[in-house]
């Protein structure tokens, strides 16, 4: 009997050590991965973002904010800090970590749309957090939102369950530069618009304190904030009344905190399907057309320090 218990304990110890080593290896591979979203977290946590203009938002930033193009046209360093599938509560802790480990930017560009204003409980690609699980600062800001358990932290390999292997295995259909993902194809035919009811109106109230904290911090530290409403294919993703609420909310924020509000929802490319990867995101071609206008506005309104 005691032999059995002894052997079980020994087996458990060996298992723990083995899985700990595997966990360490998996974390290291993920940390060094050039795939998104690991590369963005790597830059943030490693303090290597090094940019004057940083865009913050969900996957719209990743695909629309063309850092290659903007770097050359603006003559300053830019970075696309996209957090796919995220809402502002998640973007907020990403920003907090970015600020604690990197030099401050001059301009923060916030991509806003109704999706990023609605709350969901689903953790988007939870694997992206794993390499930094034992970083104290990371745990302090990320864990309260994502709700990882003690088992996730202390049982090796436990957090890797339901791992999305596609994050590593899928072929790269694009090249990535400072958070921006250049996609060369366009999707055709486009799927019909989603008919799901939008929850924008109710969630913006819950997110307002976070926005106010973020905007007042930027204002007090002399960082200019710019709200950008990106173009979408035929404005598919705006439910009735939603765009008006988005505009009025963020125009009010802009007035209160001295920010800029740039609306590109009616840009002419919104009807050109060859500029879109899908109805929501631009492709490489579209991002260049969009960023041409964006860079002009940023230069005129912000970097030259003119107010609209």
């Amino acid at each position: 009997m005691s032999k059995f218990v002894r052997h079980c304990l020994l087996f458990g110890v060996v298992l723990f050590l083995l899985f700990s080593a595997m966990d360490f290896c998996c974390s290291k591979v993920a940390e060094r991965s050039d795939r998104q979203p690991f590369n963005i977290w790597h830059d943030i946590m490693g303090g290597t973002v090094d940019a004057d203009v940083v865009a913050l938002g969900n996957s719209l930033v990743t695909l629309d904010f063309n850092t290659e193009y903007l770097d050359s046209t603006l003559g300053v360093k830019t970075y696309a800090m996209g957090f796919s599938g995220s809402q502002f509560d998640r973007q907020s802790y990403m920003y907090s970590l970015y600020r604690s480990r990197n030099r401050p930017p001059k301009v923060m560009v916030n991509f806003i749309d109704q999706r990023s204003m609605s709350l969901t409980k689903r953790v988007p690609d939870k694997e992206q957090f794993f390499p930094w699980f034992f970083d104290k600062d990371f745990r302090r800001v990320v864990f309260p939102v994502e709700g990882f358990s003690l088992a996730d932290r202390f049982i090796p390999m436990w957090r890797w369950r339901e791992f999305n292997f596609n994050l590593f295995l899928s072929r790269l259909d694009s090249h990535i530069t400072k958070g921006f993902k250049y996609v060369s194809y366009s999707l055709s035919p486009f799927p019909e618009a989603s008919s799901k009811p939008m929850r924008f109106g109710s969630d913006i109230v819950a997110l307002t304190p976070l926005w106010e904290e973020y905007l007042s911090r930027n204002a007090s530290e002399g960082i200019r904030t710019v709200f950008v409403v990106p173009p979408m294919y035929n404005s598919y993703f705006y439910a009735p009344g939603c765009k008006e609420l988005l505009d009025s909310t963020f125009q009010a924020f802009a007035r209160r905190y001295g920010a800029n509000f740039l609306d590109y929802s009616s840009l002419s490319i919104k009807e050109d399907s060859t500029c879109f990867r899908d109805p929501y995101h631009l492709n490489g071609k579209g991002s260049e057309v969009f960023c041409e206008t964006l860079s002009r506005d940023l230069r005129n309104l912000v970097l030259m320090d003119k107010n609209p």
């Binding site: 079980c8 083995l18 899985f19 292997f165 596609n166």
Partner: protein, 481 residues
Amino acid sequence: MTFNSLVFAAFLPVVFCLYWFVFGRNLKWQNLFVVAASYVFYGWWDWKFLILIAITSFFSWVSGLLIYKYKDERRKARWISAANIILNLGILGLFKYYDFFAQSFADLFLGGKADGILLHLILPVGISFYTFQALSYSIDVYRGKIEPTRDIIQFFAYVSFFPQLVAGPIERATNLLPQFAQKRVFDYSQGVDGLRQILWGYFKKIVIADWCGVYVDEVFSDIPGHDGVRLAVAAVLFAFQIYGDFSGYSDIAIGTAKLFGIKLMRNFATPYFSRDIAEFWRRWHISLTTWFRDYVYIPMGGSRRSKARVALNTMVIFLVSGFWHGANWTFLAWGAFHALLFLPLILTGNNRKYKEIVAEDRRLPNLKEFGQIVLTFVLVTVGWVIFRADNLPQAWSFFAGLFHGNSLDDLKFFGNMTFLSRAVWIFVMLLVEWVDRREEHGLSMRNTRCRAVRYAIYFAVILVTMLYFDDGSPKFIYFQF
């Protein structure tokens, strides 16, 4: 509490240590501890339903004593036995079948208006299992197969023993009760084998059944929205889901019991390697099949009557077996379907043709055996569609949908990485079970002499099972029965 929960992962080692180290010296205390642990296990779901188990246990125990007391007065003994059967089946019928019959009555005579006569009672988890186990005791006492126990704790432990309380195997008093009457001695090799069996059970449940379930649920929730190829794949995946789920549960239960020095009966014996339906039923849910054989089929005359009577007996046994699974016409239809497949075999005397394991002395089956295995699997899978459907029209639309909207493009879906990376584990399961088909479970390791290989397999199975574990993992299918 379910086996696939973190609570159980903490519960089992604690109960194991207390069972052997604290209560191991005194049989009575050990049995009492088994009852307490089992009631905590069951009460974790809903403590109020513990009263039903207690009632079932108490009246079955008392009836056993009374039947034995009047063993020379058969008439009295028969009445006592009948009263106990009526009481237990009455409770089962009330909770499980009352609404079904009331609704059917309303459909026939009240134009479907059943609002006033339905009870909407919650179905207690595992009620069919422990009721049948308790019934087998009093029937066996009545038949003189076993002497009743005077120790009520022993009997309560027999009915409520937590590893098999909610989904079997449905034990017989002749096997399990004497084990609670003897002092248990821990057997190292039995303990190790128990752990292996538990591990294999978790693999089947978490890696196979839960994944198959996601796909199957999606398809069955929108049958017209899926083409024939996807429906066919869903049917096959359901066959593996229900096998992984139920045989996985049985493996965990039997393995857990071994840790407590208790040997439970085998419930599955690689049923998907059967060469005909009769062999399938000797290998699938063995504890229930043999229960119906011993307590219903043989008392009705079994196969030693005229062919017409044998056919009737066979039909009755399959219908009752189907109805045991739940109050739905689909289960009756499923039972009838299997009866129709079974009847030709029993009427021609071919129902016991394949008693030995397939390819007993060979590594692989021959072509004929392989064809038989595939054909039997297809027939069983057709039955599973009826079993899985919410109602008979849905089952019919599923079969009709198999022949609609098929194109080779549909097959592309099954080539994606996510699907293939999970589907490959079904083949791993089949391969492992084929290699160990002569053994009690897939991870018996009797053919793996090299210790390093054995441990590599343990680590791999644990890792894969852990990686596929989902916190919101669904309950075991057979809990609802």
